[in-house]
């Protein structure tokens, strides 16, 4: 059954074929550029062996990724696999890596293409460069599943030719608002490499914390980190760890705004007179570096010189977002400076700062990256602009000749569904009108995870599996865009990622159990499966700070309710062709939810840690009752005003409580609205 990747329909057919086979447990994500499946499978058993040849065979990335492949295959199958090499013609998996890659550090645009051919019991992976081997091995591992025709494991016979759509496929990860220990970073790199992301943009400083050891300016971590920072040895370990997995580390030190944590140890860098403390309550006044003093640039020269050595990547991110102009304009000394230098606005002063910093970075061999506010006069075209405010700034930058990466639309901290991020494309919207040459300047994109409301404990659940959807957007052809196909693969790939040690499911279980006390977990879990965290910046408006615990029910649920999404599909199917079986299917669901929520409510009320969620149980009861009534009124006419009063009750029940929403409400609203 050839299943070639020609246009959208072809791809959907392929996904369908794959899902229909027992191998669907490990579908591919990101979907390859070209995919063809043939009949039969190639078994994976304890005789599994690998041979590697070609000029790049000795590259340490290749050697280490092969060693990891045995370990991961053993975990995925439970087979006692030990590293085993064989003659190329006898090996189960034969790898040919034609050329030795450029030496590390890995560079933007390094070749990541690979070909994976599986047939007649032989697997062949070819790549021109080591990175292609890494990417292809992930694809191979995703394909491993139960053998449909024998007690064992296998990969389907396929022909895959794959390459990325964009060279910059990143995650911007904030470790300032909440510190993420090294193991969390390593886990994240593991997951990123698994879905073929290639850049960890490490947001290492912000008002709330400075997270890197500086030997030159030790006051940065001493006064700016509450003891929570990475030593230089740890940084080097993470960089080496990421390099082995084909992931570049681009550091960000946010300046001149978002820099209060620098000023705690070095108040003379600040625009206002000190002393400063790191920001422990959100909403406190933030500091900004003083761009008018020469001493600032002497400090930055020393600091950037040190960090340029520590971080080998060619790119270096200086932040540059959200400078609080009042930090400058409120200071007569700075106002005088601006007047003297004919700078009318704070933006002009920041542009001056950017130019100075860019020159320093260039001297240390670095290309500067910044958030879209850095776009201003006088910057060389080598600078890369990361757009967070919208696609327009990305298009503007490209028109002006700058390279750009898109982050607007990819903010994972806003708790939006995967499909919403998936629909955002770096080359659609404002950028669609660019000339081909301008479009080439769009290097790709970055998901962004800001940690105001997330912690090391639930980081994985905030990232995964949604980050995989964004990874597919950056890697796969533009035409791969069906949300239903995405969700089917996302569920399986989410499970697959757990073999790497990611904790998105089990850590949330532990967090809910911590809250439950004597409440039966099955009951709490079913209730929680109907909820989602509030979206956007709604929750940020509450007052949070360094001492706020993120151990509430909202912190222990995934950003997106699979149950609600499933239910919505069932409602839509029913409304499209209403029949008794569909009605029965629906009513069985909300009868169970209603009964459970009604029983749970008094238990929540008597549990101090969960009492805040009792109104949500009441809302679930109301919503399910409305659904029940709506179904019954499809047969008999509804009483006058029923629809209006029910929709009003639904709106009230759907309002958020304890920072959560009842995620099944929109589907029920559809049911009610469909009543004549």
């Amino acid at each position: 059954m050839p299943c070639s990747n020609r246009g959208r329909t072809g791809i959907l057919a392929c996904v369908g074929v794959l899902l229909a086979s027992p191998l669907a447990a490990q579908p591919l994500l990101p979907w390859p550029a070209s995919f063809q499946t043939n009949t039969g499978v190639t078994p994976i058993d304890t005789t599994f062996s690998i041979a590697v040849s070609g000029a790049g065979a000795g590259d340490s990335r290749v050697v280490e990724s092969i060693a990891r492949t045995f370990t991961r295959l053993a975990r995925q199958t439970g087979l006692p696999l030990l590293p085993r090499t064989a003659q190329p013609e006898r090996a189960t998996l034969r790898i040919v890596v034609e050329q030795k890659d450029h030496r590390p550090p890995q560079k933007l645009g390094d070749d990541e293409r690979y070909t994976l051919l599986i047939e007649a019991g032989r697997i062949r992976l070819s790549a021109d460069h080591p990175l292609g081997v890494l990417r292809g091995l992930e694809t191979f591992l995703q394909l491993v599943g139960p053998n449909p025709s024998a007690a064992g494991f296998a990969v389907p016979n396929v022909e895959i030719r794959d390459e990325p759509r964009f060279p910059w496929r990143g995650l911007s990860l904030d470790v300032s608002r909440h510190f993420i220990p090294v193991e969390g970073i390593q886990r994240t790199v593991d997951g990123m490499a698994a879905v073929k992301l290639n850049i960890l943009h490490w947001h290492l400083s912000d008002d709330q914390g400075f997270r890197v050891e500086s030997r030159r300016y030790p006051g940065l971590q001493r006064e700016g980190a509450d003891g929570q920072f990475y030593t230089q040895a740890e940084i080097r370990d993470v960089i080496a760890y990421a390099l082995q997995r084909g992931v570049r580390i681009v550091p960000e030190f946010d300046m001149p705004g978002h820099s209060t944590s620098w000023l705690a140890g070095y108040p003379d860098l600040g625009s206002r007179p000190g002393p400063y403390q790191i920001v422990r309550e959100y909403g406190d006044a933030y500091g900004a570096i003083d761009p008018t003093r020469e001493s600032t640039y002497r400090f930055l020269d020393g600091f950037l010189g040190e960090m340029a050595k520590l971080f080998p990547d060619e790119y270096f991110h200086i932040g540059g977002d959200e400078v609080d102009a009042k930090q400058w304009t409120s200071q007569p000394r700075i106002r005088d400076y601006m007047k003297q230098h004919r700078m009318a606005t704070a933006a002009e002063l920041q542009a001056y700062f950017n130019q100075r910093v860019q020159k320093t970075l260039a001297r240390y061999g670095k290309r500067m990256v910044g958030w879209d506010e850095i776009l201003g006069p006088g910057l060389p075209k080598s600078v890369v602009v990361q757009s967070w405010r919208g696609q327009k700034s990305l298009a503007d930058a490209a028109r002006q000749g700058y390279s750009g990466i898109l982050s607007a639309g990819y903010y994972l901290d806003l708790m939006r569904p995967a499909a919403e991020h998936y629909a955002v494309d770096p080359l659609k919207g404002e950028t669609a009108g660019l000339s081909p040459e301008e479009q080439k300047r769009i290097l790709g994109g970055e998901a962004a995870m800001w940690e105001e409301l997330a912690t090391a404990e639930n980081l994985d659940a905030k990232l995964w599996p949604r980050l995989a959807a964004i990874a597919e957007r950056f890697w796969s052809p533009e035409s791969v865009s069906d949300p239903a196909g995405l969700y089917a693969r996302l569920a399986a790939v989410g499970r697959w990622l757990e073999w790497l040690g990611l904790t998105q499911r089990f850590n949330l279980v532990l967090m809910r159990e911590r809250l439950a006390g004597p409440i039966p977990m099955a009951s709490l879990d079913q209730f929680a499966s109907l909820l989602e965290p509030v979206k956007g910046y709604e929750r940020h408006r509450n007052h949070y700070g360094a001492a706020s615990p993120f151990n509430h029910l909202v912190d222990s649920i995934p950003p997106e309710s699979d149950t609600a999404r499933d239910f919505l599909s069932a409602v839509e199917r029913y409304l499209a062709s209403p029949d008794a079986a569909g009605a029965e299917n629906l009513s069985r669901r909300f009868a169970a939810w209603e009964q459970n929520a009604a029983q749970l409510r008094p238990m929540l009320e008597s549990n101090p840690l969960l009492a805040e969620n009792a109104p949500l149980a009441a809302a679930v009861v109301t919503i399910c009752r409305s659904a029940r009534e709506a179904l019954s009124y499809r047969a008999a006419a509804a009483p006058a005003n029923w629809k209006m009063s029910t929709l009003a009750a639904l709106t009230q029940a759907a309002a958020h409580q304890a920072n959560m929403l009842v995620a099944i409400a929109p589907a029920v609203q559809k049911l009610v609205e469909a009543i004549p």
Copy 2:
């Protein structure tokens, strides 16, 4: 509500009180020597601080355990806790450690007593020595739970004075039959320290693998390990890791039997002519070291000298079990030697070997430990005998003046229920008749985990929570022995151990999901919850080897079915006082099980990885049908022969399949037998 620990009834009352409070989520295990609970709780919030004073305050074990306490408290509560010290009179937790302990290495009999007083918002932990602080901190952490009267966490106000019953409280862990990587050893040490075990007896060599790097004899790991061994650096790391947690590492190198893996690299050590290979199929002929050659003792002198330096503990285990006498008696050269030296039996030859080895070890400052076969003439009384064959050899050893530790009855690989191990007491049975002085020679005991049928993947599930029951036997007063109280606490402590990263629950989930394919997990899980692995050596009789995969359903279920134990209690309650509610409760359960098993059976049959389990689904259906009939015949008389034919069908259904038993069968048998 004072709840003093005087005799068994008092303890049960205490456990009852604790379980009735919301703090029961973290009950104590092992139960302390003396426990009194007072009214009220002491909150744990973000102001939590620790002060430490006394001569032992600077001991690194104290310092590091305090740092870990903050991390663990943060995980258990989700509170953003950073290390915070305070003046002693203001600290939430004040630790006083009177004396500096003996310097490491920790020694047998080091003082582990502590007192933990919690009242009026203040926690005070006192100990004479650092080890007492470590033990007391574990007790404190077990007490942390939801605050019953406010949204937050707390510890109950209690007065605990605690000390161990036995100084030797160990786990013997085989890493030869299946290798356990360093992280698995560290996790195990974490769990052991949490339940106050203090010795990891590391079974480092056996016929199937030699697991330590020797620099003097590198052929040991090169030819004897298939690449799976610990480097000396790793060994040192593990020892340091364990030391910080108050756990001693006692190495075992099994000799002169169980030593085939030594002979792979050094065939001249063997009794038969070589070459030898490590044993890859169970049932192959095993080798034995030749005790008649002087070259053997020169080798051992070099090897033991090297290992004596690597492992700092005073005790050193030489195995000594199950020598295959034919390895010696089949060799004319060895028979001649025996004749010449007037040795009538292989046991006498082994006694000679033991004496030589003991002298070597003594020269390196070590006390020898061995399995009970080493008990023979000519050994100094400093030798410790570990009894695996039964309590009689322990009693014999004590009468002869040897110290002893009990392992018979504590073999976790035999898949027995926790209560069975719990009922075994080092000072009951044959040892009960010893004089007080002889009883003092019983140092304690060791659980044993042999890894023929276990792997790194399911190790935690094979150990936990059952190991905690044995830990209580070794630590708590003899009178703490109620199995119902044990199980209630075991469930909660099992969950508590997961905060340390133990994987006993979640790894089994992943293993079952790997098998399930399209089968709904809820259905497979419910079915699996009724099953248990076969007991004893039943499964060992199948042929297993290094290439056998342990990825079957039997490998992915816990040794003991909580569901079956629960059901048995319900049946017993019902039979003691039959009423309609009890009958309804029971029949609801087996109706659900029967329906699920019936639906699941064809799905199992069509899944190659699970097909072997289909007969078990059929057995579940039969067993549940018998239960249903039994209930119905309590009202109406059963047909003639019903009972006899049903019991016969039950016996057949209860027979093991795919290495598993239907664990609810015995309870149903009781139901059927109760029919007149």
